[in-house]
């Protein structure tokens, strides 16, 4: 167990001249051996320090062993569940959780949007801005659900999403710059902010389709 404790154990629990290390009484196999006390060269402060170091190290080792034991049990349980066809693939689980979170967030969005439309004409001043921005909260929840899905899901799915997002971002930037030039030279009116969002989502959808297909 503890390497630091060993020399001390050897001194404290050496048995009748036998140099072999024996377990301390009460901790290992009980023996009738005579215990020789620690030599005077080692002070009690040093002993205490050694004991403290050892107990910490022992605790870490016991903790690590416990962790690996629990992991082993979980792994066995999962294997059994797989054999019985009861376990869910982590990706399937991630999709289910995402659909649940997405559904709840979208429901909240619809409710908040309706409330926002209803209240908008009934308030004045700064409250109008607050009411107009209220639907952002459930939209934020949708975004959080998407991020959590990407973190939980399968590694290939994450890679597909990453590549698709990069392509969509690039395409949106290219289209925005093109539109910007046309706007500068007065060929087109200033766009609505919704246009960028729609372009990005559309580009993401198209990019996902082609990237997914490429990995098949």
């Amino acid at each position: 167990m503890c390497q630091v404790y060993r020399p001390l154990q050897r001194e404290m629990f050496a048995v009748g001249g036998d140099d072999n290390l024996k377990p301390p009484l009460g901790l290992g196999k009980e023996t009738n051996a005579k215990v020789i006390p620690s030599p005077a060269s080692r002070t009690s402060v040093e002993d205490e320090r050694h004991r403290s170091l050892c107990s910490r190290q022992d605790f870490r080792e016991v903790f690590a062993e416990g962790k690996s034991f629990i992991r082993d049990i979980w792994s066995r349980m999962r294997d059994t569940q797989l054999a019985m066809g009861k376990a869910l693939n982590p990706t399937t689980q991630a999709v289910r959780t995402y659909l649940l979170e997405f559904g709840l967030s979208m429901t909240a969005y619809v409710v908040v949007l309706c409330a926002s439309i209803f209240l908008f004409t009934r308030v004045n001043g700064v409250w109008r801005i607050v009411i107009a921005l209220l639907p952002i909260i459930p939209v934020g929840l949708v975004f959080a659900a998407a991020v959590r899905f990407l973190l939980r899901t399968d590694e290939l799915e994450r890679q597909i999403a990453g590549i698709s997002l990069a392509l969509a971002g690039g395409a949106t930037a290219l289209l925005s710059v093109t539109y910007g030039f046309l706007e500068v030279f007065r060929f087109l009116p200033p766009p609505s902010a919704w246009l960028t969002w729609t372009t990005f989502m559309l580009a993401w959808f198209i990019a996902s389709f082609f990237v997914r297909r490429w990995f098949r």
Binding site: N89, T91, D154, E155, L156, R212
Partner: protein
Amino acid sequence: MKNRLKVLRAEEDWSQAELADRVGVARQTIVALEGGKYAPSLPLAFRLSKLFQKPVEEIFDPESAE
């Protein structure tokens, strides 16, 4: 990256979905791996190695990596 996943899977008589469940990925990942279109992450490579009880280099051919 070329690999022997398809052969090893056939030896165990597992479907792609079954193998995917055993290593905790989507079936599409197994399809992409077998098709050599996707190089797995280290954790996944080690999970496959543990599952088939073969070293990683025996499952994946590092020479064929682009």
